[in-house]
Amino acid sequence: MRNLLRFIVRHNFIIIFIFLEILAFILLIQSNKFHRAKYVNFTYSIAGGFSKAFVNIKEYVSLREENRKLIEENNKLYNLLKSSYRTTTFNAVPANDTTYKRIYLYIDAKVINNSTNKQYNYITLNKGRNHGIEPDMAVVSDKGIVGIVKDVTNNYASILSLLNRKFKVNGKIKRNDYFGPLSWIGKGHTKAILTDIPHHVEILVGDTIVTSGYSAIFPEGYMIGIASSFKLKGGNYYEIKVDLATDFKNLSNVQVVKNLFREEQIELEKSAEK
């Protein structure tokens, strides 16, 4: 201690000098924006190199801890997952946006009954009128279209499946926009037929068939399937066999699509027909 004091006294000139210089530079950096920016850049570039190496080591050492944290977090997220809950109310509220007008509202639902082996197949969903589902709304899965809502009760909805002789939807070839009615062939669960495509249209095996959106039920451009073969029927119209994109054998989560402008469109079309 005494040695330290003696050292300070002996070199007081240099120590005071260094102290005052440091003070001056602190003032400089504190009060001048340009100098502070320069200083910060400089120190970052030096500190950056050090901390990079340091962080690399630290990361490796703490892997075990990180893994434990990730597992915990995964657990937490699993518990938050939708599949861990059962919905009891309709909670999808249309957003009130003044620049965009929402056209389609999606309501997720779960398939609780399904058949594929009859001529008139129906699907039952676990949501109904209470959740905002009404007749004539479209039902789609993440792969493609599924059907149309036929009847609803308060908590359940009955869907006219695509695999139903009564089902018809307007489909179009995505590549050139030629459209025609599409319906099930009546057997199996993978094929449908798109008819009324004029004979001059060039069709390729593998063409994507999507919804046309004309009926105001399905959103335009929603996937139906892929053309697998085609032939001329009666010399004027093509009949295209379509491989359905939706797999009706393992349907579980579907979306019910509500077209918020459907009534307006229907009304207009009716008054035009009069």
């Binding site: 007081n12 000139f13 240099i14 005071i16 000098f17 005052l20 210089e21 003070l23 001056a24 530079f25 602190i26 003032l27 400089l28 950096i29 504190q30 009060s31 001048n32 340009f34 100098h35 320069k38």
Partner: protein, 168 residues
């Protein structure tokens, strides 16, 4: 010996006032700024304790900084200059040392001695000041030119002032 302290305080105030009001507004071709306030440090008595030297340099620089909105720049430069002063005095000392009762002025030790002494210290001050001002290595030589020209002007003002304010 006339009272040294009040005289130095008066000089401190006069020099800073002159620097702020007159010399800060002089800008020859946007290149050259004379900083004559360093004259205060040059004229401090030989016997000034070293810590007093540093502290007064700090206050001098800080005062100029406060009025020219460059906090820290002049302070760093003047403190550095005060730090060098004892060593410069040692280098330029006459063979038998400085006589007591004299001051580092033209009147006592002649123009050439004073010019050499002032030149080294002013150069050190200006170098630090200008390089702190730009705060980077790029443009090294153009800054160096500014330093040299400013040193010449500051030195000229200071040496000439010694003939006008001639007092023993």
């Amino acid at each position: 010996m006339i009272k040294v302290l009040p005289r130095n305080i008066a000089r401190f105030i006069i020099l800073i006032t002159a620097q702020i009001i007159i010399f800060n507004n002089i800008e020859f071709s946007g290149y050259i700024n004379p900083y004559i306030y360093v004259l205060f440090l040059l004229l401090l008595p030989f016997e000034t304790p070293k810590w007093t030297l540093l502290i007064s340099a700090f206050l001098l620089g800080l005062s100029v900084d406060l009025f020219s909105e460059t906090l820290g720049m002049h302070t760093a430069a003047t403190v550095f200059m005060a730090f060098l002063r004892p060593y410069v005095l040692e280098i330029f000392s006459p063979r038998d040392g400085y006589e007591s009762g004299t001051f580092p002025r033209v009147a006592y030790y002649g123009v050439s001695w004073f010019t050499k002494y002032a030149f080294v210290l002013i150069l050190a001050h200006h170098l630090l000041l200008f390089y702190i001002e730009i705060f980077r290595i790029g443009g090294f030589f153009s800054t160096f030119l500014r330093v040299l020209l400013s040193v010449i002007f500051t030195l000229g003002f200071i040496v000439i002032s010694q003939f006008f304010i001639y007092r023993r």
